[in-house]
Amino acid sequence: MKNPIITLLNPPKISATYSVVGHKEAEGPLGNLFNEVCDNDKFEKETWEQAESEMQLRAIKGAIKSAGLQETEIDLILAGDLLNQCVGSNYALSSIDLPFVGLYGACSTCALGLAIGSCLYNGKILDTCICATSSHFCSSERQFRFPLEYGGQRTPTSQWTTTGAGAFALGKEGTVKITEILFGKAIDKGITDISNMGAAMAPSAIDTLKRYFQNSSHSPDYFDLIVTGDLGYEGSEILKDLLLGEGVDIRKNHVDCGLMIFDREGQDAHAGGSGCGCSAVVMACDIIPNLEKGILKDVLFVGTGALMSPISVFQGSSIPAISHLVHLSRG
């Protein structure tokens, strides 16, 4: 059988990263690592949707600038967000004169963008591209749940959508390269509780990681970190528990961006952060800089996305999820 892992013989390097976040994220454990913070989460815009676009635009421009590139040198921008029709990205990119591909993979979009960008680079189809994703608590809440001022209670398994945008410049410069890709499958294990996204996403992360280790020469111990996107507390525990049952032990080196971005107890974030901005900013401000510094050498990044539509859930459908895997390596 063909090996599903895509090994990149001409791996791209991450030339620069840039992260922009809101107030709550800046108060969190990673607070002083972000490149840019907006204190009122509005980014000087009228609506929350426009604020998200502005945030993503700043991240993209920031990544281009810190990579020392001119806009004319960029071949393609791969961007996505959580909003209907990807308006967060569409409006951000309408003010940049560059080719753009809109992506939707829910919260896995950050890994999806890196994966597709890397494949295009590997095939010498492009030389430089930007991968960007964003999510905004206020625009997501409006679209997926309730109005912002609605007085509701959150359950312990619910997660807090991260207000943040992360952008990555892929090209030939840099110390961190992307060497392997494994695209995920849409996995539906019957979860219908929109307040337990971690449980909806965990089976897809399990499937992707299981397939990776079945087909790879590396064992889990080979990696300094196995980073999942936004499984939160609930999803992370399920992942570690069930993978152990499958004979894959990742308890020692597993971390989750959703657990890193907020102080769950102190910041009232329940099961942790979520959203495609969550893994993007954590990768951009913490994991990749640590690879660059040599603190980490090999990292598996598994972007996890719950492909949730409120309409489908109201119609009684359960929530499918998808997880894309990217192997980051120093040197």
């Binding site: 107030h23 709550k24 809440e141 912002l148 207000t163 509780d193 009232d268």
Partner: protein, 122 residues
């Protein structure tokens, strides 16, 4: 002392009605919107059976302020309207009795949307 007792009953009955809803929310998969629908329909049923007016005369605001009271108001309105205007009252009584509350919520809501904007959450 009588006043104190009256307020104590208001507090206890109102509190218990809310606590029951909280148990249903936490223990079942029912969303808050469904709970409120169940409450308001229960109010109509209890009122129709002639039970709720006893609870109201015992607990006053403790029974009228929770949403069950809203259902009670509808049922009472329908009953009165049927008594005075016959079958047409079935259609006019409910909304007439609750018109004040619904209009107030609508108007205050609209005015609030003129004055306020949603704020970032932490």
């Amino acid at each position: 002392m009588d006043v104190f007792l009256k307020y104590l009953i208001v507090f206890a009955v109102g509190g218990i009605l809310c606590a029951i809803a909280q148990i249903i929310i936490d223990k079942t998969k029912l969303s808050p919107a469904r709970i409120l629908v169940i409450y308001v329909c229960s109010g109509v049923v209890l009122s129709g059976l002639g039970i709720y007016s006893h609870i109201v005369s015992f607990a006053n605001a403790g029974a009228t302020v929770p949403l069950l009271g809203f259902g009670h108001l509808v049922a009472q309105g329908v009953k009165e309207a049927v008594d005075t205007t016959g079958l047409l009252g079935v259609l006019t009584g409910g909304l007439r009795a609750t018109a004040g509350g619904i209009s107030a919520a609508l108007i205050f809501g609209f005015l609030a949307s003129l004055v306020f904007s949603s704020k970032p959450k932490r």
